[in-house]
Chain length 450, copies 2
């Protein structure tokens, strides 16, 4: 039986990073993956959606740039070609990850891990022994117990990414990040899209004001908020409104995007503590069994690819490293890659109010910004909000809606983690013209003194 310092189960952005980092430290590492390298993120999530959204953005640019002096005729979108480009991207990334594993001397085994006990895992007939175990099995889309939810035209994000034709009428059940990104993509390429969301607003992690503007900017999409789906047929989706009325909307394709659930089937032999989110872990990603760590969606503490990768590093640092890091959640950025883009990091105004925390805040319009105006025009909507502690003036949150948000937001993470204050951000120099400058302008809007 081959013995390893570490066995990692699942090769998504949690698992492969854990394997890479431990391998780089000279440890003998086994990585087990039942499907493709890269997990949901690379194969069925972050990457394919961004590839399709990029195609849709280029389609819009070809179709709607007359104001910029660009004219084109007969602009068409070929969903099969967009999928082919997407597939090429995915395959390149997959082989990149395989190369990374090789480079860090990680053994990779294809197959389903069968847990025997905290130190033994079987794949097929072969048993492996490990001093430590990192569980990174990810999550799967939740299919709600609604009549018609298993009809063939009712898909989750996994299924819709395989669909090589465009729907005519798409209904999306669930207005979270996944639902909104697909709504953006399909509406950009001309599909009639309806979103049905049970909560009073889409994108619950987002500042409420921003979510409202986001909906308003997604002009091709109909939103039904506070509505509960009660049944799906071959032809339509039925739902009750907030007022209790029953309504229906036609659909030839339905996307269910109401959430994802931790993949914890088969972990019973490990005797791990679990809760509604998944495997219970402490701030070092350690489970109740001291040699077992759980990272990413399987612990459900922050269902984001980059959280999973960071948790991987936290786990490896505690097992093999010198730094014994802890996971910090207060500056985890998120992004919605729709049209428009949105991103945020840190505290929202609503969360501050719920905590009774005293804050200073200001919001600015993106249309006051030179680059935004030059590229989007004065009728485009966009917002930036900054939140700071009322006493210390430390930056606690940055929220953005508008172009480039997803690439700008990382710096907010740096501001928050470095505990920079209002006066420190005022002394930072931002490049002009950039949309990013709005963060600085918003900080000055909180306090203009020098």
């Amino acid at each position: 039986m081959t013995r390893y310092d570490l066995i990692v189960v699942g090769a998504g952005p949690g698992g492969y990073i854990a394997a890479e980092r431990a391998g780089a430290l000279g440890k003998k590492v086994l990585l087990i993956e039942k499907d493709h390298m890269g997990g949901v993120c690379t194969n069925k999530g972050c990457i394919p959606t961004k590839s399709l959204l990029n195609s849709a953005k280029h389609y819009l640019h070809a179709k709607e740039s007359a104001r910029f002096g660009v004219h084109a005729e007969g602009v068409s979108f070929d969903i099969r070609e967009a999928h082919a480009w997407k597939t090429e991207t995915i395959e390149t990334l997959r082989s990149g990850i395989s190369f990374l594993m090789k480079n860090n001397k990680v053994d990779v085994v294809a197959g389903t891990a069968q847990f025997i006990d905290p130190h033994h895992v079987k794949v097929g007939e072969t048993e492996y022994e490990g001093d430590y175990l990192i569980l990174a099995m990810g999550s799967s889309p939740v299919v709600p117990p609604i009549a018609g939810a298993t009809l063939p035209h009712v898909l989750t994000s996994d299924g819709i990414l395989e669909m090589k034709t465009l729907p005519k009428k798409l209904v999306i059940v669930g207005g979270g990040v996944i639902g909104i990104e697909f709504a953006s993509f399909y509406s950009m390429v001309g599909v009639d899209v309806t979103v049905i969301e049970m909560m009073p607003e889409i994108l619950p992690m987002m500042d409420a004001e921003f979510a409202t503007l986001m909906r308003r900017e997604m002009k091709g999409v109909s939103f039904n908020l506070g509505c509960k789906v009660i049944g799906i047929t071959e032809k339509d989706v039925r739902f009750t409104t907030a007022k209790g009325d029953e309504k229906s909307v036609e659909a030839d394709t339905v996307l269910l995007s109401i959430g994802r659930r931790a993949n914890i089937a088969g972990i019973e032999p490990l005797h791990l503590e679990t809760d509604r989110q998944g495997i219970v872990v402490d701030e070092r990603m350690k489970t109740n069994i001291p040699t077992i760590y759980a990272i990413g969606d399987v612990n459900g503490r922050s269902q984001l690819a980059h959280s999973a990768s960071r948790m991987a590093e936290v786990a490896v640092s505690n097992i093999f490293g010198t730094t014994h890091q802890r996971m910090r959640y207060q500056a985890v950025p998120w992004a919605v890659y729709g049209n428009p883009e949105a991103a945020g990091c840190g505290l929202t105004e609503q969360a501050a109010a719920a905590e009774g925390r005293k804050i200073l805040t200001a919001t600015t319009q993106m249309r006051a910004n030179g680059r935004f105006l030059a590229e989007q025009g004065k009728r485009a909507g966009g917002l930036v909000k900054v939140i700071a502690d009322a006493q210390t003036h430390a930056i606690l949150g940055v929220h953005m809606l508008g172009t480039y948000s997803s690439e700008i937001i990382w710096g907010a993470s740096a501001l928050i983690e470095a505990e920079l204050r209002i006066k420190d951000v005022k002394e930072l120099i931002f490049p002009h013209p950039s949309v990013a400058e709005l963060i600085r302008d918003t900080v000055f809007a909180i306090d203009h003194t020098l």
Copy 2:
């Protein structure tokens, strides 16, 4: 005679920010501008070029997106419409600045300032008195003493921005930021472009490796490096090569972009010390006359719009503020908004070598990044380099070539100013997928320990 707490001369990104900040502090401020609000940046520099580059980017997207599944026929570019959009952008920004001045109770006078003495300025027949003077008159393009430099088809950036037709053969003399942005724009829209640069490489502030890749990625442009222009005729531009050979290249339009010189005509009555860069200032932007400050291109210490704005705040903080700030140059970001984009902040490897400074550094390829791959493909070139102090491990420089660089780079300013070290950046969470993540990956490439 009206008395002011502060008279600001020049309403560019230095002057109008100085007026705004001082006005916001409740000071009585006069702003004098001889041309349009916003100065060169808004009217003849940053903004119009970014507007045109955005048009060109949309043109490329319409023309070259078949790989993404986007097809269009008869794609054409109308330079007049692109200029009209540009003009609308500029006018919106100008009125935004006027509104800002009104909002901060700044008096604005149109006309040329005539300096009488350190406390008196005339505009036309009216004389104004000021306790303090902030000089922000900017700079103008240098026209070199070359035969033919004053021919009508030989333009500076001011002139070429007024040109409402596309050249057939454009020769650009000078491969700095301005030259390269125009080269990008014109080559994207199909013009035959040649750049002639006297130095051995373009973009001297850029890491040498990046500048070389930048040239390689600008496929439609011919570069002649180490070449000196000796004469311009109606038909061509003649130059000597590094080896001393004489050559010529055809041109119906020539852009001179060899540099800009401080606008210091008429300052004699102020008895200010000047040097080759412009008006001499200390780190607080103070001149040799204690009540006169000089900011932006007129002091020539950092010819960037955002440097000018920051200098404005430094000056105002020292005159009227409580913080008495100093200008710091070590984390001033810059960006080149070409195709591809490039940006940087802080120390380059070449500068570190010149100073004999011991550094740690690593470079990563953008094509290893998920978003870059999804949007640009595996054959596109892009690089990220991070430079850290060998002893303290503090981040000293970040350099980028590739899409979104201009919007990502602000965070590098935060890293450098907050004196974050390699280990701190490793603990920051970057959103996935984003091109920005490459900064983190590059930091791990310097040191992979945990």
